[in-house]
């Protein structure tokens, strides 16, 4: 493999990371918290598609199924748990954060009951595609194309539709949103539901390209968090830069320094960002 090939693979990996981060960003925008159960939604989505594939369902149909299921699960969790905790408490941000942490463990354990702890992947679209001097696995290319399509769809929703714009309005200024008659409770439900749906979709794309297991949920949450921390929390354009950066750094580190550093790379990047650019790479400091 040439060096350029490694970098290109890293950029493609960044496409997955961007999708993983978008759902987290969305929930952060409406809730003001990082959803620590995000990785669990990703893993459940991926393993759901794996099981459906085992039962003879095409992975792309599976994608549709887990996306809808993710939206439903997200809505139920938000309505039945998180909104209630938020409504009862004064320091609701800390408590909702803790609630998503607990939820993450519950979902991981449910996942281990259903799928066990083995890492699973779907052997699908395994052939290699040659583009000029470069070779990519077809599943990676298809996955990235789908990730890009979902990201663009999400961006169109956020910038062109009433509900998407309300969501951005709420994230940018809750007081202003109230003055416009926007109901924050309903938006939190929509935001959390869409966030979980996108996470589940990201899980499907991941399971096509790498083995996943329930206990990997936490590392996916971290990767998604590193991406939005690099871009600046709530900054959708910054997240794209963050995703590519994490993907490339991780792939290059793996190529040069081995698997241990590859696995540790997102964590090291998180520490560096927190030390030197806690407001993100693109964000101006907000007074």
């Amino acid at each position: 493999m040439t060096y350029l090939q490694v970098v290109l693979n890293g950029i493609l990996l960044g496409g997955f990371y961007l999708l993983m981060a978008q759902g987290l960003n969305l929930v952060f925008g409406v809730m003001g918290i990082v959803n620590l159960a995000h990785g669990a939604f990703i893993v459940l989505g991926g393993l759901g598609v794996w099981s459906l594939h085992g039962a003879g369902v095409n992975p792309f149909l599976g994608l549709l199924v887990v996306t809808v299921a993710g939206a439903a699960l997200g809505a139920v969790v938000q309505w039945a748990v998180i909104e209630r905790i938020r409504g009862t408490a004064k320091q609701h941000e800390l408590l909702t954060l803790m609630a998503t942490f607990g939820l993450s463990y519950i979902l991981i354990n449910v996942g281990q009951q259903v799928w066990g702890s083995d890492f699973r992947t779907i052997p699908y679209l395994q052939s290699a595609v040659t583009v000029g001097p470069f070779r990519f696995s077809l599943s990676l290319l298809v996955g990235v194309a789908l990730a890009a399509a979902i990201t663009l769809g999400l961006a169109a929703w956020l910038t062109r539709t009433r509900s998407g714009k309300s969501l951005r309005a709420q994230a940018q200024n809750p007081l202003g949103a109230g003055a416009c008659g926007i109901n924050p409770r309903r938006l939190r439900l929509v935001g959390f539901s869409v966030g979980a749906a996108v996470a589940a979709a990201a899980g499907m794309l991941l399971v096509l390209t790498q083995p996943i297991a329930p206990q990997a949920a936490t590392s996916f949450t971290i990767v998604a968090f590193v991406v939005i921390a690099l871009g600046g929390l709530g900054n959708y354009k910054g997240a794209a830069l963050g995703a590519v950066l994490v993907g490339v750094v991780q792939t290059v580190a793996g190529y040069q320094l081995g698997a241990v550093i590859q696995a540790a790379a997102p964590y090291l990047m998180l520490i560096l960002v927190m030390l030197f650019r806690p407001e993100g790479l693109l964000s101006r400091k907000v007074s």
Partner: protein
């Protein structure tokens, strides 16, 4: 905004635009309002005057549902709305131009206006948009610009316009003149006069600049330490400059 328009949602036709009775409100343990009672008639324009910290902004926030009253009652067009959250008050017909403007900085002027009309049907929203751009032609020339990139005066116009887009029957204006150049203040108040002249809307104007407010309002209340200490027709209060000055600490 349209004269002769049928009464607002849930209206019994005769009730005053707003009745506030023995209202207490504040922030946590901090009490700011200590029993405010005031009535605003239909299509009436009233001012709330007072020094810094008198509770003017808190009074507007309590009416707008941003601050939840600790006790007392808020009745809008005969309907008790005490304790409703801000978004429900907006839908009940209260348009709020907050002192901090509270725009959506990353969104365009056009989208900020559109957000104001999110609870209004499309036909009415289009009418309101035309009306707002007529009142503030400057906004029409910067529809694609981000709200965060506007000057203070332009932002104030946008906050004003966005509140009008909610199709209010009661408009709350919180210190619109603060921090703006005199020419911009004059333009804002011209727009306010034009709106008032058209009728169909009640207005509560909060101002530290009593002289300016008394030129526009019919009646005014003077707040001091969370209580109404003086009220009357603007003409009388304006003549009694010493009295007003004493209460305003001017």
């Amino acid at each position: 905004m349209t004269p002769g328009r049928p009464g607002p949602r849930g209206d019994d036709g005769n009730a005053p635009a707003l009745e506030v009775t023995d209202l207490h409100a504040g922030y946590g343990a901090l009490r700011v309002l200590h029993g405010v009672t005031m009535t605003v008639r239909r299509n009436e324009v009233v001012g709330v005057l007072g020094a810094n910290g008198a509770g003017k902004t808190t009074l507007l926030r309590a009416i707008a549902g941003v601050v939840r009253p600790q006790s007392g009652a808020v009745v809008l067009h005969g309907r008790t709305v005490t304790g409703l959250p801000d978004h429900a008050m907006t839908r009940a017909g209260v348009g709020h131009v907050p002192s901090g403007r509270e725009l959506f900085p990353q969104m365009s002027v056009e989208d900020n206006l559109a957000m104001g009309a999110i609870a209004v049907d499309a036909v009415r929203a289009a009418e309101l948009r035309t009306r707002v751009l007529d009142l503030f032609p400057a906004l029409g020339r910067m529809l694609e610009r981000r709200a965060g990139a506007l000057s203070g005066g332009e932002q104030q116009m946008l906050a004003f316009g966005r509140a009008l887009m909610t199709d209010p029957t009661l408009l709350l204006l919180d210190e619109p003149s603060t921090g703006l150049a005199p020419a911009i203040v004059a333009a804002l108040f011209d727009a306010l006069r034009q709106l008032i002249a058209e009728g169909g809307m009640s207005v509560i104007l909060v101002e530290q600049n009593a002289g300016l407010a008394l030129q526009v309002v019919e009646r005014a209340f003077v707040l001091r330490q969370g209580r109404i200490v003086l009220s009357g027709p603007a003409a009388e209060l304006g003549d009694d400059a010493d009295l007003v000055a004493a209460y305003l600490g001017a």
